[in-house]
């Protein structure tokens, strides 16, 4: 077997030396934090205009993560590019000639990119939270409150898992364009629209993003939130299953198909 530390180092160099991967991570960070901060500032000034029911179920932690709806798209792009550019550039042939053990190759790539996405995701999540709370003023919560730390760490996990899921999809489809063409509209539109449609939302709540994002919720029921048959960790578990399925699918394709 190829030396795993060597392959990990190689994959780290691959990520480090391409501008597109760092840019997507930077935008995931900036977009999430900036949009979250903006919405928090906006809400703080208009909070009193909200209907009382919404005021009662306001979840300041979840609200400070509002930027993630956009920021996660950059994470999707990151995940797709890490795997997809191997195919679109033709580098995959060179890479597999150097590391013919497909499992070592794919999982080293996923470990390196996944850890990086998790680190960036966690940083994003913490900064979004603290900045958001600062801007929410008297509506703010604190990290010491019950379940808040879990939600903030969960936000980082969510970002990382979204990237991992995208890597698996890109490995299955073997194309950056195709993967982005499916994942971007799915996360940005399809999933969010279906979640608002009666009956469809019973299915949509098992989608990776819908299920996974429950971890960021501190109050079990927030405004426009539905009751779901799983808790925050259950939701994350469902997302993990999705991620595992996509990664295994990607590995199966890599192993079976001609490079």
């Amino acid at each position: 077997m190829a030396s795993v530390p060597a392959v990990l180092q190689s994959e780290w160099t691959k990520i480090r030396t391409v501008a597109s991967t760092s840019w997507t991570l930077v935008s995931a960070f900036v977009v999430t934090v900036a949009v979250g901060a903006l919405l928090c500032a906006l809400l703080a000034s208009t909070f009193d205009d909200l209907p009382p029911t919404e005021q009662a179920t306001f979840d300041p932690t979840l609200f400070s993560f509002s930027g993630m709806a956009l920021g996660q798209l950059a994470m999707v792009v990151f995940g797709v590019l890490v795997v997809g550019t191997e195919y679109s550039s033709g580098m995959i042939r060179t890479s597999l000639a150097a590391v013919p053990q497909r499992a070592t190759f794919l999982f080293s790539k996923i470990v390196v990119a996944g850890v990086l996405a998790l680190v960036v995701g966690t940083a994003t999540s913490f900064l979004s939270f603290f900045l958001g709370q600062a801007l929410l003023g008297e509506r703010a919560t604190s990290i010491g409150e019950e379940n808040v730390l879990r939600a903030v760490i969960g936000g980082g996990l969510y970002m990382g898992l979204i990237a991992l899921f995208s890597m698996g999809v890109a490995a299955m489809l073997r194309s950056s364009m195709l993967s982005l063409g499916i994942l971007m509209p799915f996360f940005f539109l399809v999933s969010q629209i279906l979640a608002a449609v009666p009956y469809a939302k019973d299915v949509a709540r098992y989608f990776p993003d819908q299920a996974g994002s429950k971890i960021m919720q501190v109050l079990p029921q927030t405004w426009n939130g539905d009751e779901v048959p799983y808790g925050p960790w259950g939701g994350l578990g469902i997302m993990l299953l999705w991620v595992a399925a996509s990664l295994l699918g990607g590995f199966a394709v890599l192993g079976k198909r001609d490079a």
Binding site: T17, V18, A19, S89, P100, D258
Partner: protein, 316 residues
Amino acid sequence: MIELEGLTKRFGSKVAVDDLSFTVRPGVVTGFLGPNGAGKSTTMRMMLDLDNPTSGSVRIDGKHYRELQEPLKYIGALLDAKAMHGGRTAYHNLLCLAQANRIPASRVAEVLDTVGLTAVAKKKTKGFSLGMGQRLGIASALLGDPEILMFDEPVNGLDPEGIHWIRNLMKQLAAEGRTIFVSSHLMSEMALTADHLIVIGQGRLLADTSMADFIHQNSRSYVRLRSPQQERLRDVLHQSGLTPVEAGNGTLEIDGATTEQVGELAAEHRIVLHELSSQRASLEEAFMQMTASAVEYHAHSAPGHGPQWAPRDKGA
């Protein structure tokens, strides 16, 4: 050493490579020839374990490719000049490969220097011309200083200096005892580079023989003579049972004789020779002869090839 045994690849109902068995030996440059669509690229990809064979196997020094610990130290390949990430610099593209196989980073700078890319090492490869991409690919093949090297159309996009360089490089690597396997469509280039030939057509082995034998078996060879005493020379040759043919410009050509034989004969009869050379057909002629006689190739030839190659443009 590369050994292929019964290698077969089917794409659906189409057989791209059909029960191919041959051995590529060290110490010589082995040329890999065949018309377009003969299965050369598929074969080379299966050699690197990029495509899965339908049946049969490839062994690199007795091992399957996947069993190789750090494959770049055993076998280096240039398959496709553009098989690098365009957004990465030449140096970093090679560094990733080096690290995966625990090759020291200093070696990266060295191979870049070898292929003459040092000045553009820090440039992103998407701006590279085909020739520069080719040089980068060659650098990646040399990276692990492997005993086996494979080159698919190595001179593609190179300028004359580059062509000359890669040819001498391949010969030198072979002379060092390495195994060199090179595919090309350029017969004139192959004739200068390869010592041994493997020819396939329609995925099947057509020839596995030395260059000299290949040309000898597939074309005419003869002795060319020039002499100020041509009349006497003719008589002497006729007496010895040889039939010289006048070939214009005062030269004679004799089929089925050796220069040694004719030289001795001339010396014996004190005839002055101004030329005594053995003539061979070109590799291209021999190749055309062979693929033309492989009837089934023509019968099923891919569109665009086959008998219609002869120009017959009569104008509008």
